[in-house]
């Protein structure tokens, strides 16, 4: 196997973008940036004013030195009159003080505004990812979700932190110094401005090349990061299969690609920076010679020449900064492009415009009625449910049975509104799920899957995880929920009982234990409709029995939909539905179906046989 085929093939999201699309992306980024900065208009204006003042004050220094030589020195030399020189010195001191104060304010303020924007962006992005539908997440993958919120945001933060103020003051001083030199002496000024011809060309070249190099660098580092994260996420498999040497080889190969890319990017700067300074130095030489000539001819004074030389010293430096910060700028720009793309993505499962209220629950039942009305649904090209009609009365417990791919999980997800149907509608007590606000829906419907995700990365405890079911629940209620499904014993045996941190992704708990915590969560939530998708497959028999006994209590009066590959889970069902390719092929009470000769009876006998 060659060294680079290990990654395999997948449909990559197109990275190369046309000029047209690039313009669109920039427009989108600008829109987002404008939107984020709008609340800070005043602060932005103030920082703008500050940087202008700071730049003007910085500009005053060299000019005042020239004035001192031309206007302050002669009276001192001639008549010993120090007053003009002292006056200039005071003006100089003033300019310096203004520059210091405004610089300080400018840096602090841009820092604050920039970080406000970053904070707002972080919140918005996080919230938006939560609002986006499950289908989006499955397609987009968690890796991308994470990098949008970490590396991309951090790139934007870097821009505000160390790039933006330098960038702004660089351009501003370029503009002001250029103008100042033309005003001092237009002939010498034109000599300096002539330098802009090669500079413009150089900068255009650098921009083009560096954009390409930068993209290559980002792609290379992204692969390094994925390899790194996955290796240590799956360290058990890595060590158990002695993968360390091959992983190191693969990782080293990825690192080499990244090193190549970043070397190329740095060498672009290595060429650009000195080229800029070469132009600057040549111009300094010319100004020195030509300026000397002008002074000898009496066209300008020595002080003006001095001011010019002092200006030149700082005229081209900002361009060097631009090359330094161009990458930061690029990173932030591409980060912003991607982030704005996510933020403009509309959730396929949106909140209703005109939310509907759910009718009061019938006093007789703790459950609600769930109906599928001519529902069709599919993923991309495949149609999973062609046309489903299903009525589950309030309080009924329904078991879904069928082969993998029959559509059981799809039904569960439609009830939980992870997706919306392509056509038809799913209703809860007559209300279309699409018309219910999310918090109302989530209070009524809870889906438990095999996924049993437990949060522990920020030190969350067992109790914290159970309390996700009902945030305000007391410690006693949490314990009661755990006790009800028989999780209390193992939790109490943990080092700190309910207050034991569960570790990253619940690492210190077994899959079965995590599953019990998911159940405790759902019981605490006490929804009117409970959907169990393969929820007990990881439990052992006594635990499952305990869970089912608990379900018997908890589900009393509630509506429930239970899916299991193993028929054991459907023990408490009032009704069994057998699904085949999205259609209901059998429907009836379990004992009734068992007596027949249908698919369910066959499934059941093969299952019963597997037990012996």
């Amino acid at each position: 196997m060659s060294a680079d085929t290990w990654r395999g093939v997948a449909t990559e999201h197109a990275e190369e973008v046309s000029a047209e699309l690039a313009a669109l992306l920039r427009e989108r980024s600008r829109r987002l940036l404008g939107d984020l900065l709008r609340p800070h208009r005043r602060a932005v204006t103030a920082t703008g004013a500050l940087i202008v003042v700071a730049s003007l004050a910085a500009l005053a220094g060299p000019w005042l030195v020239g004035v001192a030589i031309d206007a302050g020195l002669p009276p001192l030399l001639g008549s010993g009159d120090a007053a003009p020189l002292l006056g200039i010195a005071v003006a100089f001191a003033f300019a310096v003080a203004v520059q210091a104060v405004t610089t300080r304010m400018f840096v602090t303020m841009t820092g604050r505004v920039g970080q406000r924007v970053v904070l707002e962006l972080r919140r918005r992005l996080f919230g938006h990812f939560l609002a986006l539908d499950v289908a989006f997440h499955e397609d987009y993958t968690s890796g991308r979700v994470i990098s949008r919120q970490t590396s991309d945001i951090e790139a934007i933060s870097d821009l505000f932190e160390e790039g933006l103020d330098s960038l702004i003051s660089a351009f501003l001083s370029l503009l002001l110094v250029g103008t100042g030199m033309l005003l001092l002496d237009w002939q010498l000024g034109l000599v300096v401005l002539a330098g802009f011809v090669p500079l413009t060309w150089l900068t255009a070249w650098f921009r083009r090349e560096s954009a390409r190099a930068y993209r290559r660098t980002r792609e290379a580092i992204a692969l390094v990061i994925v390899a790194f994260v996955e290796t240590f996420g799956g360290i058990r498999a890595v060590q158990a299969f002695r993968r360390e040497p091959r992983n190191s080889a693969v990782f080293s190969g990825l690192g080499e690609d990244y090193a190549d890319a970043s070397r190329h990017a740095s060498r672009l700067i290595a060429v650009y920076g000195p080229s800029i300074s070469l132009v600057g130095n040549v111009i300094t030489g010319v100004v020195l010679g030509y300026g000397g000539l002008l002074v000898i001819d009496g066209d300008i004074k020595v002080g003006v020449l001095t001011s010019f030389l002092l200006y030149l010293q700082r005229f081209f430096d900002p361009l060097q900064d631009v090359s330094q910060f161009y990458n930061i700028f690029q990173a932030a720009a591409s980060g912003l492009e991607k982030v704005s793309g996510v933020l403009e993505q509309d959730p396929a499962v949106p909140e209703p415009r005109t939310p509907q209220r759910l009718p009061r629950r019938a006093a007789s039942s703790a459950g609600r009625r769930v109906r599928f009305e001519s529902v069709s649904f599919g993923y991309r090209d495949s149609l999973v449910l062609p046309d489903l009609d299903l009525d589950i009365p309030a309080g009924q417990i329904v078991a879904l049975v069928g082969q993998t791919g029959a559509g059981k999980t799809t039904i569960a997800r439609l009830i939980g509104r992870f997706y919306d149907p392509r056509s038809g509608r799913v209703t809860l007590d007559g209300a279309d799920l699409r018309q219910l606000p999310d918090d109302v829906l989530r209070a009524e419907v809870t889906v438990i899957t095999q996924e049993n995700y437990v949060f522990g990365g920020s030190g969350e405890t067992v109790a914290d995880n159970i309390r996700l079911g009902r945030p305000g629940a007391s410690a006693a209620e949490v314990e009661a929920a755990a006790a009800m499904i028989g999780a209390h014993d193992f939790i109490a045996a943990l080092p700190q009982g309910y207050q034991t941190p569960v570790g990253k992704r619940g690492g210190r708990l077994s899959a079965g234990q995590r599953q019990l915590i998911s159940f405790a969560r759902a019981f605490l939530a006490a929804p009117s409709v409970l959907v169990l998708d393969e929820a007990t497959s990881l439990l052992d028999i006594p635990t499952e029995q305990a869970v089912q006994r608990a379900l018997g209590t908890v589900l009393a009066g509630r509506t429930a939909v239970i899916i299991a590959h193993r028929l054991s889970t459907v023990a408490i069902a009032d009704r069994v539905l057998v699904l085949d390719r999205g259609r209901i092929t059998e429907d009836g009470a379990p004992s009734h179906l068992l007596a027949g000769a249908g698919e369910y009876a066959a499934l059941h006998s093969s299952w019963a046989a597997s037990l012996h």
Binding site: V9, V65, G111, T150, T231, A259, L278, F418, Q513, S606
Partner: protein
Amino acid sequence: MPPVNLSPASRALARVRPVQRTRLARPVGALWRLRGYLKPYRLQLVVMLAAAIGAVLAEIAVPLLIKYVIDGAIAHGTKALLVPLGLAAVGLGAAVAVLNLTRRWIQANAVAQIEKSIRDDLYAHLQRLDVWFHDSWQSGQLLSRATTDLSSIRRFAGFGLIFLVVNVVTFVAVVALLIRLNWWMGLVTAAVFVPVLPVCVRFEKRYTVLSRRVQDQQGDLATQVEEAATGIRVLKALGRGSIAAARQAAQADQVYQTQVAKAALLGSFWALLDLIPNAVIGIVIVAGAVTVARHALTLGGLVAFITLALELVWPVEALGYIIASGQEAATAAQRIGEIFDARPAITDNLPERAVLRVRGRSEAQTVTPTKGHLEFDHVAFCYPDAAEPVLRDVVLDVAAGTTVVLTGATGSGKTTLLQLVPRLAEVSAGSVRLDGTDIRDLPLATLRAAVGCAFEDAMLFSASVRENVTFGAPDADDHAIEAALTAAQARFAYELPWGLDTRIGEQGMALSGGQRQRIALARAILARPDVLVLDDPLSALDVHTEQRVTTALHEILAGVTALVVAHRPSTVALADTVALLSGGVIAASGSHRDLLASSPQYAALMDPARIPFLPHSKEIA
């Protein structure tokens, strides 16, 4: 001593020097430890340094040319002098550009390679660290060390280190020239720059604290983001997005506060760095004018003095930046050092020679038919932070070629017991023996080659199916792969869009839980181990597939020693012996039938008659 072939990880240890105790907490010491990585680039560093110093010298020669233009050409009106002086200035400028280009060209390669070798070593070292280490570290924290922290070090190694020297040289050279122009003004100028140093040091200390805090807070934020991204379905199912969002906002707010404090600090520092050199120019212009009036300095001398004094501004400003980046790099080095200092708790316990001896013996054993005899001899295990042991006194004998199915209630320690076999976790007391040898006396590579695992979590990686399946057998050919996939009922892999080249895992095609499990099973089978350790390998399969896989497993397990965790009676069918783990000991073992009769506890776990749903069971319940 015979030459020892060091693994990448031990090479890393050789390059990262051990810390002296007194320096343990010092960031600079942490940076100093990494000096080994610069070694291969010594010559290049010298060239870079020479080029940098050459460029600086050429640069500070320009003000001297200005002096000659004003005092020589202009003062005497000799136009002819202007051309050679102008050309000299152009020549010096060109030299500066060429020298800088040379330095940066070399630097581009050196820093990229240095960063890569540190990262490679870090990665290799992390791979050697035990599972417990990885469980107790947040992944965001590890990642930020391999990326953000390494970038800080790279910046410092490429730029800061050289300019720390160059700027000091510049300072000395410029001050020497200033003193030559006018000794007392030169001394005053130098003296005014002195207070810059304590300012820098104070700033450095505060900046270190803040930048480390930002890094930590961003790491914590990354962990939250990661969990929310991977647990998105749970958050959605429960409608608890707002809680997660509130937490994330609180954490992001902390980052914000620290960043703002950092910006305020930077603002003051920059202002001061602007103020000091400008104050110098102010003083020079007044003092210089007086000196010129006294004819102790020429006009050209004054202009040269001012332009030269300005040459001090950049080195001083940059010194601030270098110190800041040096501090950041030092902090980063400290964080990376923390990882290099972590010692794997599970290692080859033997000196090199003994390893060879054992390896020789185990190779000899591969021809004997009696391999894979696994014994648990009064094994106890306790998690490092737990008060109560999970396993107390496990005694279990798995004869070569037999299959033992391990059952027990949720949380009884079955998974923990399995992890002891490939030494992903280490016994606290007692021993596990493979063919009579304590597994701690076997080289890890030998042990892990002998043991194949399939975990509860399939642990697939973002790579092709082929790469995932050949995880433990990189040299397996297509026939072997096909056989393994077939046995694990994972032929579906051939139907994927690009067949076995299809990328799966987080960054590729999404597979169902059952599909993932079957790929993981194929992976374990393909490694052709002496001992197979399977942790509930069929839990996510549907009934039909489970039956097919069970049948296939029957064949695979014949002749292989196997320890299989199962929750289900259907899997128990695979067993020669069933063992019940309860209360940290093997409470009972025997055949399924015997145990059903003799152990009420086992019957409670595994009696099909008690399994819910059988029609009569509902009536019973």
